[in-house]
């Protein structure tokens, strides 16, 4: 009887649905390093930039810390870290030998007073940044159960006085290394194994064609030399084929080819240009830009060229599609009514468009991180075109490059092999 009455009373309760809570960075404290100070501070600096740029963590101000600077890796007074608002704590102790450095890196849960991660990381001295990135990725993986991107590489085009060269760099813009000379080189794209970068180049003096460069040896080889121009190679997730655009009879169309450049086959044949093709993460579909309806819009099709479907209906100039690794969104740049290009995402199912950038210069060429958590893009917000990274909802926008004459055309490389 009591149960029935309780149920009757419970049925009277009003119900409020709450969604759309603010996504907020997790407060993390990084204690003063123990051991070799120079090495510890340098590792901490790289790690701190990784954490902040990731948008996952909010680093607490060391000036507010209450724990004694010499507090060890064990016997931690968690109440002192809790009092400054920390929910996670990172501690480290580093040693340096002749050519090698070694760090004991640990992650703690402050609220529960538990050690969560503990590892000894070693690397040759010049690879200090990689050591920090490796621990950072382990921390990200612990919390999110997804791979981190701190060890990934990016490629982009560097403006020089002699032309445009292809650069490979760490995800944070550090360790930038030229892959090509400075003729006109554009649109880099990684192979899924990260060994080659395909790019479009005017190097042969007979129009634009597609080449590859070996990241380790810098050896350049031609990949597609067909037509008046061939441009914008993008490799399939399995690495066995690639898409590109080519103009053979004066009309640009989307083509697909074997990984070695053989057996090229045209996928589109509509009137007007069809360019900027990109793969879905399962390699079964393709997104591309077509002018077939009068203005450049984003379309999708099956990878054999069938079932073409228009995806964007807002705006009159949408270009540069990039399919998210999770498959649900396509990022693109679109020109708004003020004739400025900004970045948007469109839902593959339903076509809902969300705006990511606004009132900050021209923003173009989005490329996804391999875990789908970030977008890298170019922007003129600071004057010269540079690269910036943000989260797919447009939050946490941060500069990546500070090239003297500018940087453009970013392409995010694959996750490092396990």
């Amino acid at each position: 009887m009591i149960v029935i009455l309780a149920l009757l009373l419970a049925a009277d309760r009003p119900v409020i649905d709450l969604s759309g809570g603010r996504v907020q960075a997790y407060p993390l404290a990084m204690a003063r390093p123990l051991g070799a100070q120079d090495t510890g501070v340098a590792v901490q600096s790289v790690l701190g930039q990784d954490f902040e740029r990731s948008g996952l963590f909010k680093l607490l101000d060391p000036a507010s810390f209450l724990a004694p600077p010499g507090e060890g890796l064990t016997g931690i007074d968690y109440s002192k870290w809790q009092a400054v608002g920390a929910q996670a704590l990172v501690k480290m102790s580093c040693e340096t030998a002749a050519a090698e450095l070694k760090c004991d890196l640990r992650l703690y849960d402050v609220a529960r007073g538990q050690e969560l991660l503990h590892g000894t990381y070693s690397a040759p001295r010049p690879a200090l940044r990689q050591l920090a990135h490796r621990f950072g990725d382990d921390v990200v993986h612990y919390f999110t159960q997804e791979p981190g991107v701190f060890q990934t590489r990016i490629a982009y085009v560097r403006e020089t006085e002699q032309g445009k060269q292809i650069i490979a760099a760490d995800w944070d813009g550090a360790n930038a290394q030229p892959m090509t000379g400075a003729s006109i080189n554009l649109l880099p794209a990684w192979t899924p194994d990260g060994r080659l970068i395909a790019f479009t180049s005017f190097r042969d003096g007979a129009g634009a064609h597609i080449y590859t460069v070996d990241v380790a040896t810098r050896q350049v080889r031609p990949l597609v030399l067909m037509g008046d121009f061939a441009t914008g190679a993008v490799f399939a997730p399995d690495g066995l084929r690639f898409l590109f655009s080519a103009s053979v009879d004066g009309n640009a169309d989307v083509y697909v080819s074997e990984a070695d450049g053989s057996a090229g086959r045209r996928l589109t044949d509509a009137r007007g240009i069809d360019i900027s093709a990109t793969w879905s993460p399962d390699g079964k579909r393709v997104a591309f830009v077509s002018e077939r309806a009068g203005t450049p819009q984003i379309y999708t099709m099956i990878a054999d060229g069938s079932e073409v479907r228009r995806l964007t209906f807002q705006g009159n100039y949408n270009q540069e599609p990039a399919w998210s690794p999770k498959g649900d969104l396509i990022a693109f740049s679109g020109r708004d009514e003020h004739r400025v290009f900004d970045l948007y995402t469109v839902a593959v199912e339903g076509g809902k468009i969300a705006r990511l950038t606004q009132n900050q210069g021209t923003n173009e060429k989005p490329t996804w991180s391999p875990n789908g958590r970030y977008l890298l893009f170019s922007s003129t917000r600071g004057g010269r075109r540079q690269l910036y990274v943000m989260q797919p909802d447009g939050s946490n926008q941060r500069a990546v490059t500070s090239e003297k004459l500018g940087a453009s055309d970013p392409a995010w490389g694959p996750l490092p092999p396990k």
């Binding site: 009887m1 029935i4 009373l9 419970a10 009277d12 309760r13 009003p14 119900v15 409020i16 649905d17 709450l18 809570g21 603010r22 996504v23 907020q24 997790y26 501070v41 340098a42 600096s45 790289v46 701190g48 930039q49 902040e52 996952l56 060391p62 200090l128 919390f143 999110t144 159960q145 997804e146 813009g173 550090a174 360790n175 209906f313 807002q314 705006g315 999770k326 708004d336 009514e337 900004d342 468009i353 969300a354 705006r355 990511l356 606004q358 009132n359 900050q360 789908g372 958590r373 922007s379 917000r381 600071g382 540079q386 910036y388 943000m390 447009g394 926008q397 941060r398 500069a399 500070s402």
Partner: protein, 242 residues
């Protein structure tokens, strides 16, 4: 001498079945059900709200042409400076970008109430976004693009909790799709949360901890007289999704 036989007054004559007892029990249960269902009507109690409708003020603006690309309500924060390409051995990690403080919904509401009461301190007028989506009849403090009806008190409860509702960024987007938790909260006459308990936890430690904090930090307005007793005794169910 007559043999006297003592019998209990409750003893039924002869051999009887259990039918009368069952009938009595059914009758009693039916009475209780009937009382539970109809007594509230006799006392003219308003029908309780099962699913409050949450509404917000419509923003002042002009309806946007659906053929145009969408605009954001506010510009995103400025980007931080680019990092140096080599690690600095002495410097601390780069400071995050300075973000202009955007007024919260509560602050906007308080400003509007203060203005209505003639207590508003002179404040620097922010330049309104001329392209903001809304209605020509809307309010500068509005947050919704279209008008709907709603329950004023539950909208206030919703907004007060939402203001403190934080989803930790370390929860992956994929996991956020499936997270949900239900909390039963009891509200006192002055709006204080008397107690709260999880009816269903999400299973994610970070998410449940954040909900606990959100409820503890929320300052609710006093409930109206007709809801005060039920919110104090029966509570309100809060269904959370990220």
């Amino acid at each position: 001498m007559t043999e006297s036989i003592h019998k209990s007054v409750l003893t039924l004559e002869g051999r009887t079945g259990i039918t009368p007892g069952v009938a009595l029990a059914v009758l009693l249960h039916a009475s209780v059900f009937g009382a539970a269902l109809y007594l509230p009507l006799l006392f003219d109690r308003p029908t309780p709200l099962r699913k409050p409708i949450i509404a917000h003020m419509v923003a002042l603006g002009k309806p946007r042409d659906p053929h145009l690309l969408p605009r954001k309500d506010t510009a995103p924060p400025a980007a931080a400076a680019a990092p140096v390409s080599r690690p600095s051995l002495k410097s601390a990690p780069a400071a995050p970008a300075v973000v202009k403080h955007e007024p919260t919904r509560r602050e906007l509401m308080e400003r509007a109430l203060a203005r209505a009461a003639g207590k508003a301190a002179p404040e620097a007028r922010e330049e309104p976004d001329p392209e903001r989506a809304g209605s020509p009849q809307g309010s500068p403090e509005g947050t919704a693009q279209t008008a709907e009806e709603g329950d004023a008190y539950f909208t206030a409860v919703h907004d007060a909790i939402l203001e403190n509702y934080v989803v930790p960024s370390v929860i992956s987007e994929r996991e956020r799709l499936y997270l949900s938790a239900t909390v039963l909260a009891y509200i006192g006459p002055s709006g204080q949360i008397l107690k709260h308990e999880f009816q269903k936890k999400s299973g994610n430690h970070f998410f449940d901890e954040a909900l606990d904090l959100a409820i503890q930090r929320s300052k609710l307005p006093p409930p109206p007289a007709d809801l005060a007793a039920s919110l104090r005794d029966s509570g309100v169910v809060l269904n959370f999704r990220p």
